[in-house]
Symmetry: C2
Subunit: 157 residues, 2 copies
């Protein structure tokens, strides 16, 4: 458990650092492989004007650059707060083996971050959400999927 | 409807282009504000070794750079496929007013992308998921949230 605590404390340290630097909200994360941190992140939404620059996304992108690959095989993500839907989705695409988290989505809601609200929106029918999603031109777009299915030499991820 | 079709066809064109260039899967997206495209994206996971480089994320980041802001106020997202959980989460953080999508998550599953699988994982208890999430050191991380709550001059997003 000592290592788990050490890595989580580094994620928490990054949360404090990013918040105090004005980079963004109080969130930090690290990606660990073979006992070594290969990706660091803190929330940088405000500093970079990038709504996707959450701590986990920043850490995953750094770790993937380090590995030269889009998969975080045998990696563990330590994050100072339960991942929001965007970050949990990113973690699934990166495919580490496990996540450790400290604060919860309810704790984030208590300081007025939308994590819990967004999780609840996911459960609504797409056309009734706060940001509605409307179907359009499916038949035309399916032709790209057909071409992908039949393509040789593609990189599958 | 003509404009909606025009913008969606540009998203579909980007899907074909990115796939044929070997950048990644057959997915494209544009962000539109006041009748003008301000963000373009195609999937670039393979080319950039970045699992977060989905079409919508790429388009959102370009649009935010263009606006110099982390919010896509009064914008519309056109995407050639229903957003995956990561991209839907990113859209919620960017806060455009509406989404149009062409293919569905079931269409994506039919060509072996994980979108539908990930949506289903979201509904499982965190510790029982394929990538389990384990709580750790919440009390220590909450101190960063307390400091954020009491901070003057922070950028709220």
């Amino acid at each position: 458990m000592d290592d788990h605590h050490r890595f989580m404390r580094e994620a928490i340290r990054l949360a404090f650092e990013g918040m105090r630097d004005g980079a963004g909200g109080p969130f930090g994360a690290v990606v660990v492989k073979n006992g070594k941190i290969i990706g660091h992140g803190n929330n940088r939404v405000a500093a970079s004007n990038d709504p996707t620059a959450h701590a986990e996304i920043v850490a995953i992108r750094e770790a993937c650059r380090h590995l030269g690959h889009f998969q975080l095989e045998d990696c563990t993500v330590y994050t100072s707060c339960e991942p929001c839907p965007m970050c949990l989705g990113a973690i699934y695409w990166a495919r580490p083996k496990k996540i450790f988290y400290a604060c919860t989505r309810d704790d984030a809601a208590a300081i007025e971050f939308d994590d819990d609200f967004i999780y609840k929106e996911f459960e609504m029918p797409a056309e009734e959400r706060d940001i509605p999603a409307i179907p359009l031109l499916r038949d035309e777009a399916l032709k790209a999927f057909d071409e992908w299915r039949d393509m040789d030499g593609k990189v599958v991820y």
